[in-house]
């Protein structure tokens, strides 16, 4: 880690992150980290269980996104997603 002055603290990302997370995420396209298949989140295979919700790649079956919910907490794991693409009208 360098000690330069070129970075800001994480709060400065609030603007761009709020623009991104305002999107309807089921319309977002994701690239599977396992098989590189590309598709909208809405096309993922959903396994909704009492322990958590698993969104699986329709191509290879690996978990793209995992969500669990505990008391006053959510856990969200995107490690099965290599990239999220959001289409915008400029």
């Amino acid at each position: 880690m360098t000690n330069d002055e070129q970075h800001l603290d994480g709060n400065a990302a609030g603007g761009v992150l709020s623009q991104i997370f305002a999107f309807e995420l089921t319309m977002a396209e994701v690239i599977c980290a396992n098989c590189d298949a590309v598709g909208p989140i809405g096309a993922a295979l959903i396994y909704a269980t009492a322990m958590g919700t698993i969104l699986r790649c329709p191509g290879c079956g690996e978990a793209l996104i995992r969500v669990a919910h505990g008391p006053q907490r959510y856990w969200v794991d995107f490690s099965g997603t290599r990239l999220v693409q959001l289409r915008v009208t400029e």
């Binding site: 269980t49 009492a50 958590g52 698993i54 699986r56 079956g61 669990a68 856990w75």
Partner: protein, 203 residues
């Protein structure tokens, strides 16, 4: 107020008398056997099935289905406790003690990852699966273990929450480090003792 206005649902779940001392905190007793699957139900034909013990072991082991069936078998009766709060008493199983499997492999480390068809993994300390505390079971309630409950074989570790009793298990990887499994890496407790109500990280 009209008699019968309140449905049984408003009465809450009453503790059955036989539950005293056997029901961990926060659990309710059920006679059903709920199914929880975080993915499609996998199926491996028995002629392609094997079970392995690998990783940090002196002698890696592999059994075919027929070889596995020749291992010493024992009956197990146990209470089971799911983190989603149901418990079931006196479940009956038949299978093979992990003591037998691990004695053949001679582990050289203190943790394991159980790995399964479908990609599920869960982690356990070796101390929690030895000395008659864990089994690989292929029979439930006198019949072959149904696919939806993990057949042909599942892990059975009844003293921990039931997500540790991995369905469709195909082997054990002995590890130097305690590596979190599928649910353990998604906010659930690393160990999962129902008597300490270790449901989530930090419990």
């Amino acid at each position: 107020m009209a008699k019968g206005f309140f449905s049984r649902g408003f009465l809450g779940r009453r503790r059955e008398p036989q539950a005293e001392g056997r029901l961990p905190p926060g659990q309710y007793l059920t006679k059903d056997f709920p199914v929880l699957s975080a993915g499609p139900t996998p199926y491996t034909p028995k002629d392609r099935w094997d079970f392995t013990v690998v990783g940090a072991v002196e002698t890696p082991q592999r059994w075919t289905w027929d070889e596995f069936q020749k291992l010493p078998r024992e009956p197990i009766t146990a209470d089971i406790h799911c983190v989603t709060k149901w418990s079931k008493f006196d479940t009956t199983w038949s299978g093979f003690s992990l003591d037998t499997l691990l004695a053949a492999a001679k582990p050289q480390a203190h943790y394991l990852l159980a790995f399964c068809d479908g990609g599920y993994i869960t982690n356990l300390p070796l101390a929690d699966v030895t000395n008659h505390k864990a089994w690989i079971v292929d029979t439930y309630d006198g019949a072959p273990l149904p696919l939806e409950h993990g057949g042909p074989v599942r892990l059975l570790v009844p003293h921990l929450y039931f997500w540790k009793s991995a369905k469709w298990v195909r082997g054990l990887r002995i590890t130097e480090d305690d590596q979190p499994g599928f649910w353990e890496s998604l906010g659930y407790h690393n160990y999962g003792d129902p008597w300490k109500e270790q449901r989530y990280q930090g419990d």
